[in-house]
């Protein structure tokens, strides 16, 4: 499958409270057309900032993209003019956010908010855009969409709002959909509805999805490939089956073992000691070393690169480098 987007050496920093935070620290990855890639990692590991950097929506100040390239259809998005970039946003690449409660503008009708995007990118007049909006709402399973289009966000439930967000994101048939924790705020049964809808839409529209989450269950269910982030970096990358079967990075290993499973026994859970490090005060060497059970002197000294291991796998760990940790 041809490559749709490729991120190279992306670096995004924040200046927060006088301290420099390397929220995204030199990461590279790519997505194929129609492929779903999940990005997992703990809170604050840089997942959202990565996606915002691709959209060039990093709030500035305090944030700034300081390096790298994002190649999309042969163009570097980071080098485009703001006007050109606007033509891509919401059109070729769209985005859904975590909080369906706050991501819709409370003072505009949901129909207007969807139609706005359509009018903007497809140059349709109001009536036509409205018609399309209603059709879209119907596709995502909103009952009596003609009436619902006139509702304000607060009149909808969380699940419905997230559907509206999806409809909005899909309204221009994007090539890439970035979903930043699209179900975290929802109840389990509603989450199942939304994931189901996303799968259907993926089939219908055939776009690539960059799915950000920290729920490994969602990953297992949705993704083709997985990127694991830790402290602003990608520490592991693998096809979904393989990562669950045989994680390479000790962080991934710990993560997988520390979640209680329905099918699991009731023994003590595996524990990754310590907590996520403060990005403005990263430990030397491998940022994971203070929590890593296998860390050696080298881990404390040197930062491991993301190494390609096997056909479709990468990991950043001295243990896997063949060089050892001593």
């Amino acid at each position: 499958m041809p490559e749709l987007i490729s991120v190279q050496n992306l670096q995004t920093q924040f200046l927060s409270d006088g301290k420099l935070v390397r929220a995204v620290d030199n990461i590279s990855f790519s997505l194929q057309e129609k492929e779903t890639v999940a990005i997992v990692g703990e809170s604050g590991s840089g997942k959202s900032v990565t996606s915002l950097s691709i959209m060039r929506l990093v709030p500035n100040p305090p944030g700034k993209i300081v390096g790298g390239q994002v190649n999309f259809h042969g163009e570097d998005l980071l080098a485009l003019s703001e006007a050109k970039m606007r033509q891509i946003r919401g059109n070729k690449i769209s985005m859904i956010f975590q909080e369906p409660m706050t991501s819709l503008n409370p003072v505009h009708r949901i129909g207007e908010q969807i139609a706005e995007t359509i009018m903007l990118h497809q140059k349709l007049d109001r009536a036509a855009a409205w018609e399309k909006t209603v059709a879209l709402l119907r596709t995502i399973g909103i009952p009596s969409p003609e009436k619902r289009a006139l509702d304000y966000p607060h009149q909808l439930s969380g699940g419905m709002r997230q559907r509206v967000m999806i409809a909005m994101a899909l309204s221009c048939h994007p090539d890439l959909l970035i979903a930043d924790e699209p179900t975290t705020a929802l109840d389990v049964t509603i989450q199942a509805q939304i994931l189901d809808l996303m799968r259907k839409m993926r089939e219908e529209f055939g776009m690539a999805i960059m799915l950000i989450t920290h729920d490994l269950g969602v990953v297992a269910e949705m993704a083709h490939r997985v990127l694991v982030m830790y402290a602003g970096r990608i520490v592991e990358e693998a096809p979904v089956q393989e990562i669950f079967a045989e994680p390479l990075h000790p962080y991934t290993v710990g993560l997988l073992r520390s979640i209680p499973r329905l099918s699991g026994n009731k023994d003590r859970l595996y524990v990754i000691d310590g907590s996520v490090p403060d990005l403005s005060r990263l430990p030397s060497g491998c940022p994971f070393h203070p929590r890593c059970p296998d860390a050696g002197p080298r881990c404390r000294r040197e930062r491991p690169e993301l190494l390609t291991l096997g056909e479709r796998r990468r990991a950043a760990c001295w243990l896997r480098s063949g060089e050892g940790v001593e």
């Binding site: 709030p59 606007r86 919401g90 909080e99 991501s103 819709l104 503008n105 409370p106 003072v107 505009h108």
Partner: protein
Amino acid sequence: MLKYTIKRLLMLIPVLLGVSFFVFMVMHLFNADPAALMLGQHATQAQIEALRQQLGLNDPIFVQFGRFLWQLLHGDLGRSLMTRGSVTEELLARFPATIELALFSLFIATVVGVTAGVVSAVKRYSIFDYVSMVGALLGVSMPIFWLGLILIIVFAVNLHWLPVAGRIAIGMEPTAITNLYLLDSLLTGNWEAFWSALQHLILPGIALAAYSMAIIARMTRSTMLEVIKQDYIRTARAKGLDEKTVINHHALKNALIPVVTVIGLQLGLLLSGAVLTETVFSWPGIGNYTVNAIMASDFPVVQGSVILVAAVFVVVNLLVDLLYAYIDPRIHYQ
């Protein structure tokens, strides 16, 4: 919405009743004897006592309050001790001047305040931001009356750009319809009067607006900054909308919701600030009138004007709440 409106209107009754009671009681703590005031310097004690009896000042206080309420219900606020005129009429004669000044100031304060606030927020940390926020700080720090005097000296006396005082040039009064000169002159197409009225409004308008303008600018700036951080603004940007649409269409309306409340409250402040502005600029409104009445211990007038202003304030805030409900669809009134 209609039901809510009616409910709110009904809620006005106890508040207004409370307001009247409050003012009435406060006024009765007055040191001065209204009868003695009415009679002037040649009066004897017997005459004063006779008048007290006649005015019902020797009745129990609740009887007096009942009588006062009864008259109030008929729109009668009693008679001025100084002029013997009906307080209702005297107040109504001056009310348009005050309203015109307050509305004009509110207009300046809102337009300038909101614009400055929005631009400051959007261009945060720019020169404009600093200048307007320093201006805003000065605005809330300067005493109105001092600002008024300085404006007169600079713009009227020294530069001769604007008239010193009064509502309109002598003899230019437009045909009375609403007694708001700006409006009346517009309605009658009397441009000369319009221009004159406008010129007369500028200095007192600015002096009065300074404080509110500053508050509104700061409020707008901070809510705007808050709104800009919201997720839905990020959503709007993610749709590919240009910055102007994002600000004007998506941010502004949300930012204005709290600002509207502040603007409503400002009208109250403007009405009370008018007391001093009117004094300084000899503006023939109720503020000036009230101050004179206070100096003269003309308590029916003080009582009447305080009740009038409070009533206006309460009603304006009701309107603001309704407007609030109108622009913010989240407020869902059954």
